[in-house]
Symmetry: C2
Subunit: 208 residues, 2 copies
DNA sequence: GTAACTTTGTGAAGAAATTCACAAGCCCTC
DNA sequence: GAGGGCTTGTGAATTTCTTCACAAAGTTAC
């Protein structure tokens, strides 16, 4: 398939959000122009983004909301359930495991892992908290699609290596650190500090 | 000043992180090549990023770690303290208000705002939780540099409008929704759902 | 002091992403 | 069923970002 820019994927996610809202309010069709306004972009951009994957619209009318919603879900791989394991039963790990919207999108947290004996063996809702030493072993029985790293910077690379060894091909990293993985493993790093520093930069340079 | 790509700002933040580590381990100088490796980019990219703001290196030697650290802090506006108010005393709002790393970077949370009478009037550490209706009024006395939106999607635009009316020029938005603000106000939206959907997309298209 | 080696800073080239602009298709009205 | 009005899909133009490649400048070793 044609290479898909990261920015396009982000925008498709946004469009999907808008479409779900529009579906709720009963709109049957939507134009690229409306989607563009909602997403803070241009109608040409919307059409280009979609055109990578096919032509879903009707000239003179726009896009059928339910149809495009479905297409976008398919494209983004949201039609199915993903099995997720979270390493780090701290604030972020627990928040994520409990967040209902996460499950609704098809991300099922099968297990939490930690090193703290106080936490190991407990349960959060129905999710077991296990010793991270068991991760590789468990991965042989259970299949994890996505691994979430929610530990401090120091342990992140070790966790990543463990996940890679366990055959996990997609890693979401919340540690404020670049992790290194083989080329066949996908990672995304979410770093709130970075976002705030970008805001700080913008503020510091508002006038210039 | 020359326009600075968003991607450059993100990388500068990354470099700063590495420099702070290098400073800790006592390295006196660092080359663009080393920074590039750490950040998963190329040495030419590192030099271009820096060259937007000046020439900080020494040919044949590299960059002096403490000097470059300082320059980057300046560039990113991290030399000073920013006054932050957070609207929404839920999970995200509270987590942010309590996170020590946040204050260390110069982001001082002066106040939390909420609508829930149960929360209004309480304190988190020394941070007061106030009625959001007071925000505009408070902003006249206290000066808020950055407003954080940590409320559900439904209330986000209203909070944004209130912040804009209160004269806040930089908004960090955690609601899963694009907020609309005048052109002189900077916003950044952090949307974890988007990140996971990007991962889902990558997984769904690994083979293709 | 000189030669060999390193590393920066930066124009120029190349690649990637966005915007423009318009033909083609579809709806709606009369 | 013909004409006017919208909106898509997409090549081409433009803009933006990244990579290349190399002169200039500094360091180190002898």
């Amino acid at each position: 398939m044609k290479r898909v820019p990261d920015s396009t994927v982000r925008r498709l996610s946004l469009y999907l959000g808008f479409l779900e809202e529009l579906e709720g309010s009963g709109d049957a069709t939507v134009s690229s122009d409306v989607l563009a306004r909602l997403g803070g972009t241009t109608s040409a951009q919307v059409r280009k983004d979609l055109s990578i994957f096919g032509s879903f619209g009707k000239r003179g009318l726009g896009y059928f909301v339910p149809e495009l919603t479905g297409k976008l879900r398919d494209i983004l791989g949201l039609g199915r359930d993903w099995h997720v394991c979270i390493v780090g039963a701290g604030k972020i790990g627990l928040a994520l495991a409990q967040y209902p919207g996460f499950r609704e999108k098809g991300f099922h947290v099968s297990a939490l892992y930690d090193t703290s004996p106080a936490k190991i063996g407990s349960r959060l809702d129905s999710i077991p908290v296990r010793d991270v030493a068991r991760l590789a072993l468990d991965a042989e029985r259970e299949h994890f699609d996505i691994g979430v790293i929610a530990v401090p910077a120091g342990g992140a690379q070790w966790v990543a290596d463990t996940m890679v060894a366990a055959g996990i091909k997609a890693i979401m990293n919340f540690a404020p650190l670049q992790i290194v993985v083989p080329p066949d493993v996908v990672t995304r790093t979410v770093n709130m500090g970075l976002e705030f520093e970008a805001l700080s930069f913008a503020l510091a340079n508002l006038s210039k």
